[in-house]
Symmetry: D2
Subunit: 403 residues, 4 copies
């Protein structure tokens, strides 16, 4: 068997490599995803492992299921799940789960991760020790930015040890904030579910005297979910996202606009991304187990500011705060995400069998592609405040510039 394509090894802009030391060099670092004519592994001898890292995201089970199905189509017999993220590589008592079509057939009907997730993990060297001990040939990592960095470190360490292990990632970020990707799985479902929360806030606000509905949505550093859910619901008066700064107080502040809305239409609905307005909050230096800085909760802050403001000016305001985060994350994938997960899962397996490592499977500019992990994790993707989509959102909400 031959490796048919690429050695990313000498491509300085990318850490992804072909695991075959003899393979030839190719300039392009983005490759069209899909099956290859020649494959690098003998399927019958392959041991493949799947691991899911970070927080929940709709579609995790769809990706797991499709990777298993596709591996079986190639002829792989030895497929295992690593439990609870990278933790499954070192935590005693966490056993490999044998996976097959029978086991995963219907896991996509429920949300969550069949394998379990967790944040953080051990040192890379320990994980690679474990990979070596378990004789894993292919490792599929479904996770976010941090887990991608981890996957790349594992890939580099395997290379250093001259282990022929394909490390292939699938980006999992409900926030849709992965560079180069048109969209990531789970995002569409998240917007759909977020819209349900917005509709509840709208119903509560509209049914109340001087009702103010406030919904906090996911988005640590990006406002994609908030922007899309605001647009799709058509029920939002103010949408606040991390990429666009704003003032709360003052003549042109958000609170003054809310006053105006209560006066004129009698109620209003506000949608905030969790990472919005961080400049208005006290900084914290704490981090979570994945190493992400723990953000102050802008949703709760906003709720308190609104209540205080209307109390101070002596105007009644009936504030209802909804944080649907876990109900959104724990959903099963909708049809559109199910298709995306199916294709990403199939392609991840094609990539591994083609002999790639250090790559991730995504959709770029309507085409499914393999990208080097190092490229996609340089920085998160952001909402462009000058984009048409943000302007459409502003048109839909009718909100002014808050400065």
């Amino acid at each position: 068997m031959f490796l048919q394509v690429i050695n990313y090894a000498s491509n300085t802009s990318a850490g992804a490599v072909c695991i075959d030391p003899d393979c030839s060099w190719v300039e392009h670092w983005v490759h069209r995803a899909g099956p290859r004519k020649e494959i690098y592994y003998e399927p019958e001898e392959v041991k493949a492992a799947i691991v899911t890292c970070g927080g929940l995201c709709p579609g995790l089970n769809d990706v797991i299921r499709q990777i298993v199905f596709t591996l079986e189509i190639y002829g792989v017999k030895n497929i295992v799940g690593i439990q609870f993220g990278y933790r499954g590589f070192f935590e005693k008592g966490l056993k490999e789960m044998p996976l097959s079509r029978d086991v995963v057939e219907n896991i996509n009907l429920a949300g969550g991760s069949f394998l379990g997730v967790s944040r953080g993990g051990a040192k890379t060297s320990e994980i690679v020790d474990s990979i070596q001990a378990r004789r894993i040939d292919m490792l599929f990592v479904i996770g976010g930015n941090g887990s991608h960095a981890g996957a790349n470190a594992i890939h580099e360490e395997c290379r250093k040890r001259k282990l022929k292990v394909s490390v292939v990632a699938v980006p999992k970020t409900i926030d849709n904030d992965i560079l180069f990707m048109d969209k990531t799985f789970g995002f569409d479902t998240a917007v759909e579910e977020a819209q349900r929360a917005i509709n509840s806030a709208y119903i509560e606000a509209r049914s109340a005297y001087h009702g103010v509905g406030l919904v906090k949505l996911m988005g640590r550093s990006t406002g994609f979910i908030a922007m899309h859910a605001s647009l799709s619901s058509g029920q939002i008066d103010v949408c606040l996202i991390p990429e666009v700064s704003f003032t709360l107080d003052g003549e042109h502040g958000v609170l003054s606009h809310l006053e105006h809305l209560l006066e004129t239409k009698g109620f209003c609905v506000v949608c905030v991304a969790e990472g919005a307005g961080q400049d208005l909050l006290q900084k914290s230096n704490a981090t979570d187990a994945s190493g992400n800085v723990i953000l102050s909760d802008f949703g709760v802050h906003m709720q308190q500011k609104i209540k205080k403001h209307f109390k101070d000016i002596g105007v009644l305001a009936d504030v209802k705060y909804i944080d649907p985060t876990y109900m959104v994350r724990a959903c099963r994938a909708n049809a559109s995400d199910a298709i995306l997960c199916t294709v990403l899962g199939q392609n991840a397996v094609h990539g591994a069998f083609a002999g790639f490592s250090g790559i991730t499977s995504g959709i770029c500019n309507t085409h499914y592609a393999f990208l080097p992990i190092t490229e996609v994790i340089t920085t998160p993707k952001h909402v462009n405040p000058n984009s048409r989509m943000w302007h459409r959102c502003l048109t839909s909400t009718g909100q002014p510039d808050f400065h």
Copy 2:
């Protein structure tokens, strides 16, 4: 036209009366609901008003819609909605909303109250002044315990002023805590939606390493929603309700049981009614606009206690807290509640046309009935800790006695 039935006036156990001073006495204070052969009003001359009070509850729009439909079948032309609860009687700028089949045809397809709700209100005398000025003959009050008390006070004041006004209530309490009633509208829908939150908590807990899912459900003084949602989901390990006391700490406390669950099954899901464990919280004397004592939030308290406990004992626990309250309240009614609302709304109109006042429309022991308001508001209905249903819940959760 004659009044066909009853004068509750001399029945000391009940404030409900027939508004015809000449009508004869009847002993029974509960009457089978439904249309009567003779009606007390000339439909063409009637002005009927509908008001919705308190918090949201699935089915409000179904009841409003059915009252309007049934009034029109009787021949009533003048039907109005009072906006935002009793507040609509005195707040300037809140106009009567003319109601008809065309206006309300599809309001049941959305949650909330088409008329708006609010808590609290003015003095009874001011409301009755307003009723008199507006020449209202029938007032339909859809609200909870407090609003029922208000409706009864209005009824008494009308009698005192010798106004022939039928005040008929429909009990609206998502908590299902109205005395004598088999169930109140919105409860079934609330349990259905609450189950969605529980399923999210289950998915989150099960997918996490040492996951603890915690769901707070409605129920200020009663655990009906928590108990039923725990039973129907089949995914709850511990259900805590106001009617059953428990300790958190100690060998037989809840926290010790959670430790046991994390050890044995690796995760657990806890459901608490908002009014549970009030003896464990610091008392507050604050009240809301409806006069209800503001409870300390046991859900948040529980979340903090669990986190602290596992931190103290050095065991990892990944706690996910879900408070779906507004998403549950803002739902539209499910089919079962839609039927209940239809019948209650029809009966409320039948009751008013029969000349009753000071009554409420409910379902008791599988029969639809009119009851005197004074009777149903004496005390809320509670979960009986010795009932079979609570025992079934305990069987389902497998939880021990926490003492």
Copy 3:
């Protein structure tokens, strides 16, 4: 161990018996369901089997799951599922499925039957041969009228052979047509889902010029689903059920009324139970595998009649026909049915452990009870055309008497 209650044996009105030949006589043939102080079996020695028969019904998996859970709580180790109804007792290649908490934990999240269903079966003697060969002590039969008759025949044959086998049934009929029962599991869910189909028909009819929406719902001999779904949707103009005869043609016929509706409101929505208007159809003598007479399809007939009628009178009518049967049957149970299934499943196990056989587990007049199978299968329950519920339905649809 002693049998604690009853010997139905000498009760001529009921075939149910206690399987202990020494037990004493009790008059009452309906017993309050629930756990007993003394149990008839040694749980460790029991082999329990579960079988689901007939067509699908929401909640089958909930009942299976709860029977398994409750058997395990009693201490039973040997629980098996019989595949595809009674067929599983004799068809080669159909193996017993070992059941336990782990296996059934999440089966309630999907519709259908985890064990498979089928109609019809073998001779009773062959089934009992199989029960004997498999050494089954408890047989739980979840099925409709026909399967109940089968269960009773099995029970009688076991008695004849002096086998100590408890045969306990749980009534499964989506049509809600079991005598004495307040409601059967799956019915509530069916009404909820049927309402979705009605709403589609309403949307189609209302959006079309002279639109006629026609929905056929389940109900071979009873109109419960059609009546309840019509009431809960509030969108039906004409509801036709088997219990109430009607004419299609003529001045007072249904078709003439539809003309009137198209003229006055521009569209209309009709709901028919599958067994309605059988006197208007050509008789067939064919039967299905369960022995039920195959009904001519009134929904299709009605569709053709409406099209022909409006063509004949030269009036445009845009007829949209919806038959949601399989989409309704294949649903998972809603919350209300999930609770019902939980209790029925628990009680079935209590009944078997109490030593009963030939009984079925139901809810009568708000109380959970055991009833002799022979009693409940004498005749199906029907909608009473003089009942308040049917009158409420007529009020809601506004339909006249079609004669």
Copy 4:
């Protein structure tokens, strides 16, 4: 006011024109959609009309709503809805519906068309007479291929009469078969809902002994819905679409494959597009009111073929046939379609104000664009049998080549 862009008039490849006779020529016939710096109309003087034609499609109300909102933002006061498609232009008794934000605020919460739809219509000249008499300046046509042709004819006739009327279309085809368009609104929702029907068929088939689930989905000449729903569900064994021919009988026919599936996995699920296998059916020459050839119903044909085949070979097969067409069409738009509708509706108004006529508003290669109607209606878009997506579908179903 000036026209800012284009005169399509001399562009022979396209019938779209600028309605200003003096405007300058531009080569490109596809234009980026969006607001223009200069607008052609005085908003206060504009009378705008909206009409929806053909069958229902999720999102119609979203588009109507957004056109009204955007017109109001421009300052248009006179907005009307034409009832029941082109029929509203000539049918007596169908009045213009005045539209405004208040009227359309929540129409997107229900499916269907708030304005009503119908097929076919009058002569173009009569419609333009009516447009002239009503003094309509902008006509927004939401419809499929036939209605686009109609819109273009209206546009040409207006030009001939030198009426300054902007005729702007929005493509409405649930089948996703419009040339050049990435996707059309409603398609995503249709796939989501179709998947529900597939899941029901799967549950029915899997729960039955030798169950065969058969689902017919929309797609007169294209298989997009069938292909996407098969992929997203992951539960389909055979997917048949119009673009790929197949044989039913013979060694390599579909029926033989179904036999194989029943033998090996015990059940199977088949998804067919309504227009599949037309070469296997008897041709009809009948057309519907829109002029579409009425297809023979392949779903029903397939059902009969399967039943007959298994009867002939003496193998039991329990066939369940589901046709969810109307339940899919009558849905409200999901979040993803709601965003698409919002942008298409906004752009249609921008296009009209820019002075375009004879154009349609779509999304091409991820960019929103205006296209000449004449171009998009030349032929329907088809599934490419050599595309990756169809191959992914084949991988997912595992079906062979049926020849």
